[in-house]
Symmetry: C2
Subunit: 153 residues, 2 copies
DNA sequence: TCTTGATATTTGCAAATGCATTTAAACCTG
DNA sequence: CAGGTTTAAATGCATTTGCAAATATCAAGA
């Protein structure tokens, strides 16, 4: 029953959260791009490693969801990571349609080398935001995240 | 000076704001993709229209920054929008290196057709977040946005 | 004014992306 | 337990992307 949404021009770009979030993430991603390049990583490869560093042995489909990468793109990113010796594929024992991906020591090392830059960029972006405010911010993000449910991508 | 950042595995993906924001924006962008396709819009084209609908007559370089699109990609997106009659290019009077972009009525109509879906997706994502919480969230986003300054992309 | 250097946009080209299709395996249902 | 359906991952292919180079214009100094 809500009325029609106010126009974007009325609220302004910088009062529309999706715009701000896209802009912030664009900056974040740009900031770590150079370091990724040094390590031979692309965004899909980096994201796969990030997720695997936390939840190893995932099935490719789920990995794509968590890494926020198209399934076919991820499949090829895994090819590249495997060629680099950073992950390995292994068929699932019970269901051989499933392919599980495991991070290797080399993969962990690469992500460990990148992580300080990610954390540093994050710290730069959130400079001047108090811990309390950050906690509230994360709490809201988590509520929004919960609204996504398990929808693909 | 700050000690080394805790590892991602220690804090968890869903406590790391950049991950949550990337995930949320991925969902947002995926949700409006179908509507964009119906209107013949790609993400760069849509973003250009969105920015122009608020700030018309911008120079291409600035438009790229606000639209969060690589310059060369935007240049081609403008080609396409121009071919569709949704924007027009005009050389700047004072400095003819500059190209200003103006949205046309057709461009406004296309964005107006898309906007309800963008606003609706936004509303879905923020369902259950109180107005107060939303205000606080936006305020934090704006602080972070201010930290970006005028850095490119 | 001519030269050197900076800035804005476009374009060439190789690489990356995503949609649609294919292949392979598991699940049902009669 | 065969046939049809669903699900997972990989792949073909056309399009898109982004880096680097080219082009065009302006600015500053000799």
């Amino acid at each position: 029953m809500k009325g029609s949404a106010p126009r974007l021009g009325e609220i302004g770009l910088t009062n529309y959260p999706p715009y701000l979030m896209n802009r912030i993430m664009g900056r974040y991603n740009a900031a770590i791009r150079a370091e990724m390049a040094k390590l031979g990583l692309t965004t899909p490869k980096m994201r796969a490693l990030a997720v695997l560093s936390v939840m190893d042995g995932q099935v490719i489909g789920q990995l794509a969801v968590h890494a926020i990468v198209e399934q076919s793109t991820l499949s090829r990113a895994i090819d590249a990571l495997e060629a680099d010796g950073m992950v390995r594929r292994a068929a699932d024992g019970a269901d051989s349609r499933l392919v599980r991906v495991f991070i290797t020591q080399a993969g962990r090392s690469a992500f460990d080398a990148l992580w300080p830059h990610m954390a540093g960029t994050y710290a730069d972006l959130f400079a001047g935001i108090t811990p309390d405010e950050q906690r509230a911010f994360v709490a809201t993000l988590q509520k929004i995240h919960a609204n996504i449910g398990k929808a693909e991508v």
